[in-house]
């Protein structure tokens, strides 16, 4: 296998694995957070403002790990430096 197809294959497989595995952890975490927030909303409806705000901020913090994985996989697919290098080598 030549190096162009090696790099292409590696990038695509790694991108898929990154976003696939990286989505598992945040999904579990967000599920727990939302479940906990719902039960505390049911117990203390008066505090719904604070709970909702904290929930949103917390969800965004949890979600950012998934976003990091997404950014890495997008870089691997669309802006891969190794791919650009090998293509410029092969082209010129």
């Amino acid at each position: 296998m030549d190096s162009i197809s090696m790099i292409g294959l590696g990038s695509i497989i790694t991108a898929g694995l990154t976003i696939g595995i990286g989505a598992i952890g945040p999904a579990l975490g967000e599920g727990r957070a939302v479940a906990q927030a719902l039960s505390s909303l049911a117990q203390q409806p008066d505090e719904s403002n604070t709970i909702t705000r904290t929930l949103f901020v917390g969800l965004a913090m949890i979600e950012s790990t998934a976003i990091y994985c997404f950014v890495v996989s997008m870089i691997l697919i669309f802006a891969n430096p190794f791919w650009d290098y090998i293509i410029s080598k092969a082209g010129g």
């Binding site: 950012s64 976003i67 997404f70 997008m74 669309f78």
Partner: protein
């Protein structure tokens, strides 16, 4: 912006030497013009009568809401935080919400814009901390609880700045990417739904960026209040004894 472009930085309109004029700069300037002109037009004819113009009403709602939120989060008077945090929130909100306009790419989908905003927060935290607590008081919180925590505190400061930048960039960029991919796959109604979802995400991300900036600044500026309260309690105790 095509599917392959990962940021609007790659859409270059004009290029000469080291200077290049790309889509990020263009749309940032457009947002600046819209916001400055809008604010100028609204506040030009401001009244305290019972009869408000509807734009002044909108402005008052925005400013009041921002003040209430800042007061709730920081538990301090919002006056000095409002200009900085409010500007961050309004800029990110406008730049995310305008993405319904065809041909527009939000400048927050570029890592350079979000990194610049995060660096603003990174610089503002020590400024507010020093203003509130003095240089020694601010620097002392780095060696709290022990001096062993110094490297971790510094690392935390840097990594949260990075997280702030990448979070906003990733969210806005992913919204645009998904819309572009769906436009290629199922071009009729489905992209509109994702756009609507993108509006919600954009607003929430702007809110979260502002809230996190506020939380960081408040945590740097707050410890003084605790010592003041402790001092107050001690004097109260002394008063009780005497």
């Amino acid at each position: 912006m095509q599917l392959k472009d990962i940021t609007p930085d790659q859409v270059i309109f004009w290029h000469k030497g080291l200077v290049s004029f790309n889509a990020t700069i263009l749309f940032t300037w457009i947002i600046m013009i819209i916001m400055v002109l809008g604010a100028w037009l609204i506040t030009r004819r401001i009244t305290s009568d019972a009869q408000l113009s509807r734009w002044q009403n909108l402005m008052e709602i925005i400013v009041n809401g921002l003040r209430d939120q800042i007061r709730e989060i920081s538990r301090q008077s919002p006056g000095q935080y409002l200009p900085f945090v409010g500007t961050l929130f309004l800029f990110i909100t406008v730049s995310n919400l305008l993405s319904v306009v065809p041909g527009y790419t939000p400048p927050t989908a570029s890592l350079s814009t979000t990194a610049a905003l995060a660096i603003c927060v990174f610089v503002a935290v020590p400024i507010y901390g020093i203003l509130k607590r003095g240089v020694a008081g601010y620097l002392k919180q780095y060696i709290r609880p022990t001096i062993l925590m110094l490297p971790f505190n510094i690392m935390g400061e840097i990594s949260r700045t990075l997280a702030l930048a990448v979070r906003l960039f990733g969210n806005v960029m992913s919204g645009m990417k998904i819309a572009a991919i769906l436009l290629a796959v199922a071009p009729l109604l489905f992209p509109i739904l994702m756009h609507a979802l993108g509006l919600l995400t954009g607003l929430i991300q702007a809110y979260i960026f502002a809230v996190l900036a506020m939380v960081y600044i408040a945590s740097a500026a707050q410890a003084r209040k605790e010592t003041e309260e402790k001092h107050l309690k001690e004097t109260e105790k002394k008063g009780d004894k005497s």
